[in-house]
């Protein structure tokens, strides 16, 4: 296997004196599709924030494409990893196509703005995510599911090899959850995007992700295919619930 797309080595994070991540080692290969699961407070979001450079760990290191994160400029990180936010509150009315176009910010000319290549990437992203019909609508007037797709399209327009998502299905009904998961799988399998997503829903994670990383109290306690990482015993010990409730 060629080098990792992203790697955490012995990452420790303390927030307000509390250890949130305790020596996390994780390597994600190019083209992988990885779900991060774990109970509330396990450190999933913190791990993501370290991975994308918005949180600096107290100890340990992070590599992107085998380059230390500290040595990369902000822009350079933004050209490697696109982060899909959970939700965005826009202060003003804004067309869907204009929101998607914000994904080009790391690429566009800092002063002159987007060029033809940027406009083409935006059009392609809108097409890829299937938002053509909505491109001219006000992004604030969309349903939660449509909004999530807009944010994913923005990340696709960012043209990175890795997409990172923090609970992309959290406010969605079942049909939209599946729609988002299908899209992520497709972006991974057809376009070769590396995908790392924090998920709450274990059934969804097990069904759509070939690799599951289970975090508990700041440590990785399991890492492997769903059958291995999400066995009944693990669900019982980590999440403290009857595995039958997860419905596998």
């Amino acid at each position: 296997m060629s080098g990792s797309a992203a790697e955490l080595r012995g990452v420790e994070v303390r927030l307000d004196g509390r250890a949130v991540l305790r020596g996390v080692d994780l390597a994600i290969g190019p083209g992988e599709r990885v779900a991060l699961v774990g109970p509330n407070g396990a450190g999933k979001t913190t791990l993501l924030r370290c991975l994308v450079g918005s949180l600096r760990p107290a100890a340990g290191g992070i590599l992107l494409d085998e380059v230390p994160l500290d040595e990369l400029s902000r822009e350079s990180v933004a050209r490697r990893i696109a982060v899909v936010p959970q939700a965005v509150a826009l202060p003003f009315a804004m067309r869907v196509a204009d929101v998607v176009a914000l994904g080009r910010i790391p690429h566009e000319h800092p002063f002159l703005g987007p060029g033809p290549a940027d406009r083409a990437a935006v059009a392609a992203a809108i097409e890829r995510v299937g938002l053509g019909e909505l491109a001219g609508r006000d992004a604030r007037a969309l349903s939660m599911g449509e909004r999530q797709l807009v944010l994913i399209a923005m990340a696709v327009a960012q043209s990175t090899r890795m997409l990172v998502l923090d609970e992309p299905t959290v406010h969605l009904d079942l049909r939209h959850q599946v729609e988002v998961m299908d899209l992520l799988r497709d972006l991974n399998e057809r376009d070769g995007a590396t995908i790392v997503a924090v998920l709450h829903d274990l059934a969804l994670a097990a069904h759509f992700f070939p690799r599951i990383v289970v975090l508990d109290a700041g440590r990785i306690v399991a890492d492997g295919p769903p059958s291995e990482a999400l066995g009944p015993e693990r669900i019982q010990t980590v999440f403290g619930v009857d595995p039958a409730l997860v419905g596998r």
Binding site: S54, R74, S76, A89, F92, G103, P110, D138
Partner: protein, 360 residues
């Protein structure tokens, strides 16, 4: 043959939409420039000594562009136009542009549609500075600019600097912290202003007149002092439009797009404060322009700062020049009254339209 036709049809809607969009944009820019020219000709030509538009244009072309036309106007008209009306109209335009640019920036930066150039204490700071200047026994004038302009400028900038410093120490989310600190500092400065007014005695009228805002006493030195600052501020903002766009998504998402949020926020804040201070120093407190013009512009072109900043500056400049014209016809009303009387109903109408599904 079908194979050739189908792809071109498939691409037609997007291409047509893009073309229609840029045609519309060109029209909006031309409309802005047209309004500006109209405001210039009307503002310079109308008044107690009225000139017809043809003469006004000929005079301006002759004196400013060296157009070779024989003067058909009285020398006094030329003096009135060049020494009184032209600096006044141009200053109103510069101040309108500055307030619109600052308002756009504060609204975007604070992610708050209610923000205006005065939101972070600039108004109270400038007002307090001006009031203190009136009470000072010093009557120092440098090229027509007095202590009052200097202290108003310093007061406005100082207020924002103070708000920024204090808010950095707050544990609230940075935006809420900034807004609340702005409110607190503004209230404190307003109390200082109230005390100064109370103690001002015979000077009260002079202070209040300055605070109401206007261009009645404006001359070339005012424009010469303010214009470089406004041009510099406008240029900086235009060059940072990308950061302002990224901040539409919020600070964390902007950081994920590669923006150094802390640095950009400080830079944008300082620049918007500079623009506001320059505007307030020469013309006092003029409301509504910095709040309404950015919104109107956004309703026309969407929130992309690359469009809203320059177009808003055009519209703001034209709007304030027209408002000043209306203000001086009945004999020097404070221009802030006109901007509010014209601006508020217009704004209300826009909001109603927006609620009825106004499409961007």
């Amino acid at each position: 043959m079908n194979a050739e036709v189908v792809p071109s049809l498939a691409h037609a809607p997007a291409a047509v939409r893009a073309e229609r969009g840029s045609a519309r944009l060109a029209l909006l820019v031309l409309a802005g420039i047209g309004l500006l020219v109209l405001a210039l000709v009307a503002g310079v030509g109308l008044g107690n000594v009225a000139l017809d538009p043809g003469t006004t244009v000929a005079l301006l072309a002759h004196r400013l562009l060296g157009w070779p036309v024989a003067p058909t106007w009285a020398p006094t008209s030329e003096t009135i136009v060049l020494e009184l009306r032209l600096p006044r109209v141009l200053t109103a335009m510069a101040v309108g542009a500055a307030l619109s640019l600052a308002g756009t920036t504060f609204q975007g930066l604070l992610r708050n549609p209610l923000a205006d150039p005065y939101v972070l204490g600039t108004a109270s700071g400038a007002a307090l500075g001006a009031a203190i200047a009136v009470l000072l026994p010093v009557r120092l004038f440098v090229l027509g600019l007095g202590v009052i302009h200097g202290l108003a400028f310093i007061g406005a900038l100082g207020a924002v600097a103070l708000v920024y410093r204090l808010s950095r120490a707050s544990s609230l989310g940075s935006l809420t912290g900034l807004l609340l600190t702005g409110y607190a500092v503004g209230s404190l400065l307003a109390a200082g202003l109230a005390l100064t007014l109370y103690l001002s005695g015979a000077h009260l009228r002079q202070i209040v007149f300055y605070l109401l805002g206007g261009f009645g006493t404006v001359s070339w030195p005012h424009l010469v002092a303010a214009l470089p600052l406004i041009a510099l501020g406008g240029a900086v903002l235009l060059l940072r439009a990308r950061s302002l766009n990224a901040l539409l998504l919020g600070e964390e998402a902007a950081a994920h797009l590669g923006i150094d949020v802390t640095r950009e926020r400080a830079l944008l804040l300082a620049t918007a404060a500079l623009l506001t201070a320059a505007a307030v120093a020469v013309s006092g407190l003029i409301g509504f322009v910095g709040l309404v013009v950015p919104h109107v512009t956004r309703l026309l072109v969407g929130p992309n700062a690359r469009l809203v900043l320059p177009l808003g500056a055009l519209y703001g400049g034209a709007f304030l020049a027209f408002a000043d014209l209306v203000a001086r016809i009945p004999g020097e009303l404070p221009v802030g009254i006109i901007t509010a009387v014209v601006g508020a109903p217009f704004f209300l109408a826009l909001i109603r339209r927006a609620r009825a599904g106004y499409e961007l």
